[in-house]
């Protein structure tokens, strides 16, 4: 087996993942915290005020990263769900289901901050435009996945059913992303572009990018923390889990 495949194979084993995640977690939490502080300080204090919205634009430092995360986490969840359904890898099931509540939280933050910003700027808390509606649908999809997962007793069957639902819901992702392009609506287009120049000044851009990175780290940290607990619960009968529990008691 080639080394990369071997590593993936090893990663898929719960005890190995548990130990690796345990070693990574302090770093991830630390870096995420530093990133969040730096990004927020940069965005809320250092970045200059916008020519049109003055200080109100600063909400993008929370709103935009959470919007990106809401989609990123959904894609992550669906990808893991796919792996879980096709190859029956327990770790993927756990990761997909551990990601769902985090994704729902980011989606909720995105909707809430957008709403708070929308009232003074657009003149309305909420409008049924394509971007907002599809993001709301995304939140409901997350809630559906979480609800389905908790409604089924057998953990593994539950995660497979929920993963299946997540896969069906993935049709919504391109709609969220392209909604501002496909329909000419109230929500503005993308500012930060992967290809081509971004439509934002450099001094305003860097805190946004720091925040984007920090939210990724935050996601990784909370995901690993959650997955560790879930794995321990799922494998409660196994020898390694017993050892972990015993070691926990001793310290």
């Amino acid at each position: 087996m080639n080394p990369l495949l071997l590593w993936f194979h090893k990663l898929g084993s719960p005890p190995y993942f548990y130990r690796l995640a345990g070693r990574l977690l302090p770093w991830l939490w630390g870096l995420a915290l530093i990133g969040l502080v730096a990004g927020l300080y940069g965005g809320l204090v250092l970045a200059p005020a916008d020519y049109q919205q003055s200080d109100a634009f600063r909400i993008i430092y929370v709103h935009v990263p959470s919007a990106w995360m809401s989609m990123f986490i959904y894609a992550f969840m669906a990808a893991n769900g796919f792996v879980a359904l096709v190859w029956r890898i327990k770790l993927s099931e756990t990761l997909a289901m551990a990601a769902a509540p985090i994704g729902a939280a980011f989606t909720a933050i995105c909707l809430a901050t957008g709403s708070i910003w929308g009232k003074p700027m657009w003149g309305t808390w909420w409008t049924w435009d394509a971007r907002l509606t599809s993001e709301l649908v995304l939140l409901f999809l997350y809630l559906g996945v979480i609800g389905l997962y908790h409604a089924i007793e057998d953990r593994r069957q539950a995660s497979r059913a929920a993963a299946f639902l997540a896969l069906i819901g993935i049709v919504n992702l391109p709609i969220v992303h392209f909604s501002v392009k496909w329909w000419n609506t109230l929500h503005q287009g993308s500012t930060v572009k992967l290809f081509g120049p971004s439509l934002i000044d450099g001094r305003m851009l860097w805190p946004l990018l720091v925040m984007a990175l920090a939210t990724k780290l935050l996601f990784a940290a909370s995901l690993l923390s959650r997955a560790r607990v879930d794995l321990l619960e799922l494998e409660a009968g196994k020898e390694w889990a017993r050892q972990v529990a015993l070691a926990g008691e001793r310290t």
């Binding site: 057998d154 593994r156 494998e235 009968g237």
Partner: protein, 220 residues
């Protein structure tokens, strides 16, 4: 398909190291056994020992956590398996709102018809003559079971998986099940039946598999 002599024929059903876990708790297994044409095997085990789950795994409804099921020497796929397997579970799969005849016609549509028998004849041979058009809801539990047994007679499956076939039946009914099993074995079919031990297959010499016994390798 060429028909090899019985000696060379692969077993109708073979389980190899079959294991099923639920929430990582083993339900049964590892279990290995073979079923040849003409076999009637009694699966013994207490309540909750995983008999029903085993039948579901063997019928293809559930996927085993480990091990394989071979059918005529070929690994299980649902499409191939279902042509040759008839499952009679705790739930009979019979609609209370319909008559026995309607239920059987549906079963034939779904599973096909064994040559040389009609729904009327099948109902007659399970002792339900005269009940053809009565809604099943109005029949007794034992009579409902007989409708399900009539379905077994009609559908051309070589392997019967019967979960507690004696439950709810009176003495005549038990004798009827045994008669059907014998007939099926004579015709070259095989059957795997579960029982918690209260009734037993009396005629012939049925082989027994005990679910509590892990790693049984029963050579025929």
């Amino acid at each position: 398909m060429n028909s090899p002599t019985p000696d060379e024929a692969p077993p109708l059903l073979q389980a190899r190291g079959l294991t099923y876990l639920r929430n990582d708790e083993p339900i049964f297994g590892p279990l290995s056994f073979r079923l040849y044409a003409g076999d009637v095997v009694l699966m013994e085990g207490d309540n909750g020992s995983g008999k029903t789950t085993l039948l579901k795994v063997l019928s293809g409804l559930l996927e085993p956590s480990a091990g394989t099921v071979l059918l005529n020497g070929e690994p299980l796929t649902l499409a191939r398996l279902s042509h040759q397997v008839s499952l009679l579970g705790h739930l009979l799969g019979i609609k209370g709102d319909l008559s026995p005849l309607q239920n059987l016609r549906f079963a034939i549509g779904l599973g096909g018809l064994r040559p040389g028998i009609t729904p009327h004849q099948a109902l007659k041979s399970v002792g339900l003559e005269g009940y053809e058009d009565v809604p099943v809801r109005q029949l007794s539990a034992g009579q409902k079971k007989r409708v399900a047994l009539a379905r077994l007679l009609l559908v051309p499956a070589a392997l019967w998986l019967l979960d507690e076939p004696y439950a709810n039946l009176d003495r005549d009914g038990i004798a009827l099940v045994n008669r059907l099993l014998e007939l099926h074995a004579l015709r070259g079919g095989a059957a795997l039946i579960t029982s918690h031990g209260a009734y037993a297959y009396t005629s012939g010499t049925p082989r027994r598999i005990d679910l509590r016994d892990t790693a049984v390798e029963q050579a025929a």
